[in-house]
């Protein structure tokens, strides 16, 4: 069983299984996952919530921050939250 240890390993995995991501002149690859569920609407009812999470290697997408637009696989999304990094990976919640 191979162990992913180096940045090159991670980049290979993200490029192999992910989609192209860009922000300005910064370009990388990331895993883009969708999940949908019904959530409280805060008013006593429910709404369909679509969670879009982009996983990239930390430091590979310059300028990624809340409220900026990133291009994921050719579509523009607005960053809602940059979640705390887990080891070398960063998860970015986007909407669009």
């Amino acid at each position: 069983v191979a162990t992913i240890q180096t940045d090159a390993d991670i980049d290979f995995m993200l490029k192999d299984a992910g989609v192209p991501v860009s922000l300005g002149n910064s370009r990388t690859y990331g895993i883009f996952r969708h999940a949908s569920e019904m959530e409280s609407d805060g008013q006593g009812g429910f709404v369909p919530a679509h969670h879009l999470i982009l996983t990239i290697r930390q430091g590979t997408l310059s300028g990624v921050a809340e409220d900026v637009d990133v291009l994921i696989d050719g579509t523009s999304y607005r960053v809602r939250s940059v979640l705390p990094p887990s080891r070398k990976l960063v998860r970015v919640a986007v909407a669009g």
């Binding site: 609407d41 008013q43 006593g44 009812g45 429910f46 709404v47 369909p48 607005r78």
Partner: protein, 167 residues
């Protein structure tokens, strides 16, 4: 009782003269350059499956639900056929920019409040359920579903009614 109050109010909100869209077009003034917000479908829980499931009829959209219905039957010597319908009118929209959603929701909630106040100017009757007073009207805080595009707001109100079919 639930059906009549919900339908009376929903039909009023869809009225071409007194309804929410009409108010939004005429009596709700907007800051210069800001577009007329889309309101989508206005529906109640007795005529729309999604609203009956406490969802929204469309996005954007407006859902009218009766939450509870306390009946004022405490006096056994003098039976009252009155009650209070606790109604929640929820508004939702989907916008990439949360501030745009908050702006548009604000205009729409004001239009709902205006339309509802006009509803209160007279008694309304359906199937011998007579709505005769509004004892409470409030705009709830807006809410943004976490990490999502959905933005919601609501107007809550309590309408007193009487079942005039009760002898």
């Amino acid at each position: 009782m639930i059906l009549e109050v919900a339908r009376l109010l929903t039909d009023w909100f869809n009225d071409p003269v007194q309804g929410v869209a009409a108010r939004l077009n005429s009596t709700v003034t907007r800051d210069a350059g800001e577009p007329l917000p889309a309101i989508g479908t206005i529906a109640d829980q007795t005529r729309n499956n999604l609203v009956a499931q406490t969802k929204y009829p469309t996005t954007p959209g407006i859902a009218v639900n009766v939450r509870q219905l306390p009946l004022l039957d405490g006096n056994t010597q003098n039976v009252s056929a009155d009650g209070i319908a606790d109604i929640l009118v929820r508004v939702c929209r989907s916008e990439k920019d949360s501030k745009i959603a908050a702006r548009d929701s604000s205009y729409i909630l004001r239009a709902i409040a205006q339309s509802w106040r006009a509803f209160n100017l007279d008694t309304r009757i359906r199937n011998q359920i007579q709505v005769y007073a509004c004892v409470e009207l409030a705009v709830a805080p807006n809410f943004e579903v976490e990490e999502n595009l959905i933005h919601t707001g609501a107007v809550a109100g309590k309408l007193r009614f009487r079942d005039i079919a009760v002898p």
